[in-house]
Symmetry: C2
Subunit: 455 residues, 2 copies
């Protein structure tokens, strides 16, 4: 392990001494719901964030968009040093189903050295760690080692529909040399990660209604079309039992991974039995022979998020339902364009099941890719080593979707993702949690990144 610089050591000491107080500040932040999908609490939380960033000495603008505001906070006191854009999102997923939470999602609870609350890992605990890292540098040294611009949006969980336009319209305010996002989860082994991109995503619904009401399955069965069968047969044309997405033209824009990327994916550690045990899985998804990390890094997906139609209560009900809906998302890889993919889905559906409607209320998120050989990766890798005492795992791409493309494709800068949350954080699920250690180490990592970028 590299000898640590005294300047960083004193910041780490400050962070360690304030560990409990930092947790209290996170708990307070988590008590305020900010559910973008339902427009609950968004403005209040944006204002709290703005106050916090102002209080620690940054120049804050709360920028309105056609959706939820973006909180931007700059510190430009290190001329000649790089500018790092720190991205995060203050909105959270809806907490439902509530009955599966051990404690209420917006009443944070500490059990077994973990904080349980909606948004603790995704993403409040992670960007708050970045903010507290900035605060620690400013408290200890009265300045930052490099320049910083925070970009904290309120619509990530609904697909960041206004981020691209926001970035295009505010290039000057957002001028930076690299972007770093703290989001997502560490490896199951506890090792930190450094990711060079993310998959894109497009969410849509397939809706079908045949009759104007539910009817008796005996008196009408065989005559009245069944919307569930319509969806089943349509969906079966869109993805094969072998796991191949069969929407016409879906793979046209896919750029195959480079040898370096394939090699990096192959080097990621995997305890497949432990993974399966952790989720109670009997098997992985199809195709059975595809390497684990290649599935998550280089292949698009087509997930049914929910499918509902007809009777779902106890016992039997011999009813023929009149409507059904499938909520879907597709994860995209470079260089698939969500608008193009949506057009292909619509064309496919029109061809195979013209009575099904494709509903899409957002434009989705492009995939993002930063070359693994970029020199800007070096200080980030060193920072992670400083904070955790171990080299990060290098991922050619993250598995989830973050709006990294606005940095790589619009601002033209390298974009990295580091993960401060524990592997079992249960993002998007009941009992979302973050360990106290992960939160604390996240603050340390944030501090180390600023330090390394200033060298």
């Amino acid at each position: 392990m590299k000898q640590m610089d005294g300047e960083l050591t004193s910041v780490f000491d400050h962070i360690d001494q304030n560990r409990d107080r930092s947790v209290d500040r996170l708990l307070d932040y988590l008590r305020h719901p900010s559910i973008s999908a339902h427009d609950i609490g968004i403005r209040e939380v944006a204002e709290r964030l703005s106050s916090l960033l102002t209080d620690i000495g940054l120049e804050v603008s709360t920028v309105t968009t056609p959706g939820h505001p973006v909180v931007v906070a700059r510190w430009d006191g290190a001329p000649g040093k790089p500018v790092v854009l720190l991205y995060g999102h203050y909105d959270v997923q809806p907490p439902e189903p509530l009955e599966l939470w051990t404690t209420p999602p917006f009443e944070p609870s500490i059990r077994d050295k973990r904080i349980f609350a909606r948004g603790v890992a995704d993403n409040k605990g992670q960007h708050l760690a970045q903010i507290l890292a900035v605060e620690a540098h400013l408290k200890v040294h009265g300045r930052l080692p490099c320049n910083v611009v925070f970009v904290l949006e309120g619509e990530e969980e609904v697909g960041s529909p206004h981020m691209a336009a926001f970035v295009r319209d505010h290039r000057a305010m957002l001028k930076a040399d690299l972007a770093v996002t703290a989001d997502g989860q560490m490896h199951a082994s506890g090792r930190p990660n450094l990711k060079f991109g993310s998959r894109g995503v497009l969410s849509f619904e397939l809706r079908v209604r045949h009759a104007t009401r539910d009817v008796h399955s005996g008196n009408f069965g065989g005559v009245v079309p069944n919307p569930l069968w319509t969806l089943v047969h349509l969906l079966a044309t869109m993805k094969s039992p072998q796991g191949d997405i069969t929407i016409e033209g879906f793979h046209d824009a896919v750029v195959p991974p480079t040898a370096e990327e394939l090699d990096a994916a192959a080097r990621l550690p995997l305890d497949l039995e432990a993974f399966k045990r952790s989720l109670g899985l009997q098997r992985l998804d199809e195709p059975a022979d595809r390497p684990f990390y290649e599935r998550l890094s280089f292949h698009p997906t087509f997930t049914l998020n929910g499918l509902h139609g007809g009777y779902g209560g106890p016992g039997t009900k011999t009813v023929l339902p009149h409507q059904a809906t499938a909520k879907c998302d597709v994860r995209l890889v470079a260089a698939q364009d969500p608008a193009d993919i949506l057009a292909k889905i619509k064309a496919h559906v029109a061809r195979h099941a013209p009575d099904v409607d494709v509903i899409c209320n957002d434009l989705g998120m492009y995939p993002s890719k930063t070359p693994m050989s970029t020199p800007m990766a070096q200080p980030i890798q060193r920072a992670i080593l400083s904070a955790y005492g171990i080299e990060p795992l290098l991922y050619p791409t993250g598995f989830g979707s973050l709006p990294g493309y606005v940095f790589t494709d619009i601002l033209g800068i390298p974009a990295f993702v580091v993960n401060y949350a524990n592997a079992d954080a249960a993002n998007h699920a009941p009992n979302e949690n973050m360990t106290l250690d992960c939160f604390h180490n996240g603050i340390r990592c944030g501090a180390a990144i600023l330090h390394e970028l200033g060298l």
Copy 2:
């Protein structure tokens, strides 16, 4: 129209004079829920029925079964005359979804000369009509023209699981020359129907769980199997987009219709455009080229009653669900055996999707068939003509499922179904209803059947 017998005319007069009082008695009956699927109110309603039948002068036994009791009521005062078994069911479907009812399902309401209530058509209004027909004969003439045995069960809506054993165990009590069931709906034109059989039915669930919890579709998509896709791909192997059921061996036992049956189905009137309009349909179910009444008479079906898994709330939720359930029913035609079909479904599922469970809590119902040429059909046809002034339509088989097989296959007697309810009765659906005229004419028809059988 045949000159009417004075004996029947006086019974009809009595029925007409008591029209309003009969409606009041039906309203009272409908206020008492008897939901077999949820075991609500069953015993209370069986007791009310028993008292009613005793009061009008029948010899009543309430026979316990391992499920809900069967109310049997005999009148044997016409030696040498035929014995007609009158079957009905006092249980009703669950009323959900409650929010779609204009008035509460167990607070009967009269609007536009219709009674709205759960069970009014299916089947309380129909077997009460039979009972009031018997009462009318007894009131006017002090006797019945033929012998009668009522068999009123409380489990038809959950598949009559104990009817076969009950009939096998009580052959003496049920000795009869023919069985007549008043259930189901008249033709959309308002013409009465006479049906010579019914489709069987088997209800089951397909259930699958992969992971122990829902997971993030980005972090796990492509690795964790999706139970909805598992169901989609399994279901696609069970029925083709062209409407053919493709479960291996499913059609093995199907007896093709006779020329007489095909001819009868072809003669049934059809206003296809009016039918489609009545349900807001753009098209019929597949296969597109199959004649309308052949679909409903001679072909089995595979209906998805409900399919549920994952997120169903507003907006998007990029979740990969861990479990899903499809509730299904298959309608069977002669001579498919539900136990054999269940075994074939289980074998098919085991072969195509071994991680899906097939759950079946009842043994289903056999199809039933009475030859159209049976002489016993003649008095029933004449009775319908007397009551309605028009010849009935003759159906080789009804479309729904009634336990007629216990009469045809166990007792070895011809079994007929007449329909007293209006075509738009909305059985099994919100706002189930029966017109006042249909109820009144049902009582008249019941009286005429007894009369014709006594000639």
